[in-house]
Amino acid sequence: MMMKMEEKNKLPEEAWGIAKFRIEAMPKTLKLSIGSTGALNKDQLIDHIEKRDDIGKMIAEAQINFLRTFKRNLRASP
């Protein structure tokens, strides 16, 4: 059961590449303020994605969630 839950919550492999690609496109002048971690620049964000740590996972989840929302909106529009 636990295994199934983990599999269900696992990010698709391509999510990591998409997240990295999208953060690479971010202007160098922007930073992301992430809670207690502080404000991270583009290079630091990419580093977290490459390490696949908790922050990297959160970035990948947010990017995938955004793309899914975008897709839903496209389908819903006339």
């Binding site: 002048t29 922007l30 809670g35």
Partner: protein, 214 residues
């Protein structure tokens, strides 16, 4: 009604939250609401608890960092924590916390300890900073949609809306900004939109909703 606002300031994130709380204090002043602003080094457990116990504010607005079990004050020192939660500090209060993830465990513990309502985030609260504007956070148009949406719940409560209604107004403000960036799609839109959606999803309200503060 009395509102207590903590304003720690020791990094970009806390500087932004403190500056943007001006929206809240201005609204309090316009309505003649008493504000207790606790700033910088004074944002520590002893001073804040003393203020709460002696002045008995109804509404506690915590700016600053956090984690699932703790809201931190100046220099990341614990202010309100599951570990040593004082019932007298949170009982009968309405709490708004920007502190990341604090709604997940601390929020529930506050409600169990008699807090009327806890509004916050059950995961990281995230916003974009434009480093070319970071010395003047109120002029940072990239941070604006995040902080304006989050502050909306506090401002709506101060304006006399029901708590649940105020929360919905904040959610609607997120939607307004999401629609704006979807429709206009300026250069920064692809970097702002994922995190506006993220914050909206993770903003939560615990406890009582159907009452007004005054």
């Amino acid at each position: 009604m009395t509102v207590l606002i903590t304003k720690p300031r020791y990094d970009d994130t806390t500087a932004y939250l403190s500056e943007w709380s001006k929206e809240v204090t201005d609204n309090c002043k316009d309505r003649g609401i008493k504000i207790l602003e606790v700033e910088n080094e004074n944002v520590n457990k002893i001073t804040v608890e003393n203020f709460i116990k002696s002045q008995n504010p109804t509404f506690l607005v915590f700016n600053g960092h956090g984690d699932p079990e703790t809201i931190y004050g100046q220099h990341n020192k614990p202010l309100l924590s599951v570990e040593d939660l004082d019932k007298d500090v949170v009982s009968e209060k309405i709490i708004h916390s920007f502190s990341c993830s604090s709604a997940s465990i601390l929020g529930t513990e506050c409600i169990n300890a008699g807090c009327k309502t806890f509004i916050g985030y059950d995961n990281e609260f995230i916003f974009i900073i434009d480093t070319t504007r970071s010395t003047q956070p109120l002029k940072d148009e990239s941070a604006k949609p995040f902080l304006e949406s989050a502050n909306q719940v506090v401002i709506s409560i101060i304006k006399g809306n029901e708590i649940g209604e105020a929360f919905e107004m904040s959610q609607a403000k997120y939607d307004k900004w999401i629609e704006y960036y979807n429709a206009h799609y300026p250069e920064e839109a692809p970097h702002i939109l994922p995190w506006l959606i993220w914050d909206k999803i993770h903003q939560v309200i615990l406890g009582q909703k159907n009452f007004k503060v005054y």
